[in-house]
């Protein structure tokens, strides 16, 4: 006999369902007076935040090509210098004017999500090599049984993207562009495809 390991098991995921807005963005669905604002809504940066202002726009698109109008998207990113505003960030102190997390429900008519934020700096991979600037995303919706993790990189970072340890791990190179947000001016467009020829790369992290 050996000692038992005695680890607990993670609670299984269940879909966020069609009414995730009630719990996570009640003002968005017209329920006012309980929370002053919806958590994670509005710009991620303020006047004092360091870094280049960008707008991320995108949609989550199903296997028929239809944008989801009930998806909820969360982003988490480093500050302009590549530090996370988190107790688990031990390399240095992040910009106190940048929380780094945002939440946006897809527009109920168009399915679009929008984040006003800054372009993140580079963060080292576990072996010390620098990753290219990226934003991590988490997507839930009715019909999605377990939240989907992905990343958005930037089209204006070709050299950094070429040496990124995560992008380089993707065996099928034709799939790499599904992780690159297209930058035009200060707007970065990132559509997420759940299925089909252009299915976005999702991670088991």
């Amino acid at each position: 006999m050996v000692q038992p390991l005695n680890y607990l098991k993670e609670s299984p995921s269940q879909t966020a369902g069609p009414y995730v807005h009630i719990g996570c963005t009640p003002n968005f669905t017209g329920i006012h007076g309980v929370y002053e604002t919806d958590l994670g809504s509005g710009p991620l940066c303020n006047d004092k935040t360091r870094g280049e202002r960008i707008t991320i726009r995108g949609r989550v698109i199903d296997g028929s090509g239809t944008p989801l109008r009930d998806a909820l998207v969360e982003i988490w990113q480093a500050d302009a210098d590549g530090y996370y505003n988190s107790p688990s960030e031990t390399r240095g102190k992040a910009d106190p004017n940048f929380f780094g997390w945002g939440r946006c429900p897809a527009d109920m008519a168009t399915g679009e999500f929008v984040f006003e934020t800054i372009k993140p700096g580079r963060v080292p991979f576990n072996d010390g090599r620098l990753m290219a600037p990226h934003v991590t995303l988490w997507i839930v919706a009715r019909g999605i049984n377990i939240g989907l993790h992905t990343r958005m990189y930037f089209s204006d970072e070709e050299a950094a993207n070429a040496e990124d340890p995560v992008l380089n791990r993707i065996e099928h190179r034709v799939r790499v562009p599904t992780l690159i947000g297209k930058r035009e001016g200060n707007t970065v467009t990132f559509d997420i495809y759940l299925q089909g020829e252009n299915e976005t790369v999702f991670f088991d992290i």
């Binding site: 609670s11 269940q14 009930d70 072996d127 995560v166 759940l194 991670f203």
Partner: protein, 246 residues
């Protein structure tokens, strides 16, 4: 293994055999919304093992009291008064302090307060159906609400959801992010629900069923249901994140 020191270790690999797969045809909406290619495995980097902190100061006094948080002054939501309480733990059994727990549910008649909700059951003018709290230093949380009703939904011709409360949980790392649902002990609808049945493992389903907790039931006031939530565990940090060349 206290949470006093910041933890930086990677998370335990997710056991996907007990989570629902993406494609579950019995739950029809998943058919066009399920990725079909294999997930790319990625051990947690800084981008996944870090996460935001939500302080207790963002929580208002009545955020964890759904009986009154939407009610007119002096009035209360209609339904069976219940207390839902438990701990947010990680797989090591450590209480997750400072976890943000958000919850939402239908009213006692099974009706949600949402623009797109069409069920004919009545709305309760005093019930919003949502709340939130941040766990204490031991990972403990609690809220007061009314027991939600089951309701029909368009999937099969005659599918009904068991009574349930939705939970969204933020642990210490973005990799721990989880949305799930709590069911109530003794509800026969649990075992015939297409959404419950997306979970392939019966033992895992049981971990989402909250037992009646008579010890914490308040006499002449409200029954208690105990619901512990387990997030992914993380490794100790001593040999993690080696400097280059080590």
């Amino acid at each position: 293994m206290k949470n006093a020191l910041p933890e930086t270790g990677g998370f335990f690999a997710r056991d996907r055999a007990m989570h629902p797969p993406a494609l579950t045809p019995g739950y029809k909406t998943s058919v066009l919304r399920s990725p079909q290619r294999a997930l790319i495995s990625l051990e947690g980097t800084k981008s996944e093992v870090t996460g935001p902190v939500f302080g207790h100061n963002m929580i208002n006094e009545f955020d964890n009291d759904l009986i009154v948080n939407y009610a007119k002054p002096g009035e209360m939501a209609i339904g069976q008064r219940i207390l839902v309480h438990g701990r947010v733990l990680d797989e090591r059994g450590v209480g997750v302090a400072g976890a943000l727990v958000e919850f939402w549910q239908a009213n006692a008649g099974g009706r949600y307060r949402h623009k797109k909700e069409t069920y004919l059951a009545a709305l309760d003018p005093n019930f919003g159906g949502f709340g939130r709290c941040v766990t204490d230093e031991n990972g403990y949380y609690w809220f007061r609400t009314i027991k939600p009703g089951p309701y029909p939904w368009p999937n099969g011709v005659n599918d009904w959801r068991p009574a349930h409360i939705h939970f969204s949980i933020f642990g210490h790392g973005f990799a721990q992010r989880l949305i799930t649902q709590m069911y109530f002990e003794g509800d026969p609808l649990i075992w015939i629900c297409p959404i419950v049945k997306t979970i392939p493992d019966e033992e895992a389903i049981k971990r989402l069923v909250a037992p009646l907790d008579m010890n914490n039931t308040i006499p002449m006031d409200m029954r208690a249901y105990k619901f512990d939530i387990v997030l992914r565990g993380r490794r100790s940090t001593f040999f993690e994140n080696r400097k280059e060349g080590n």
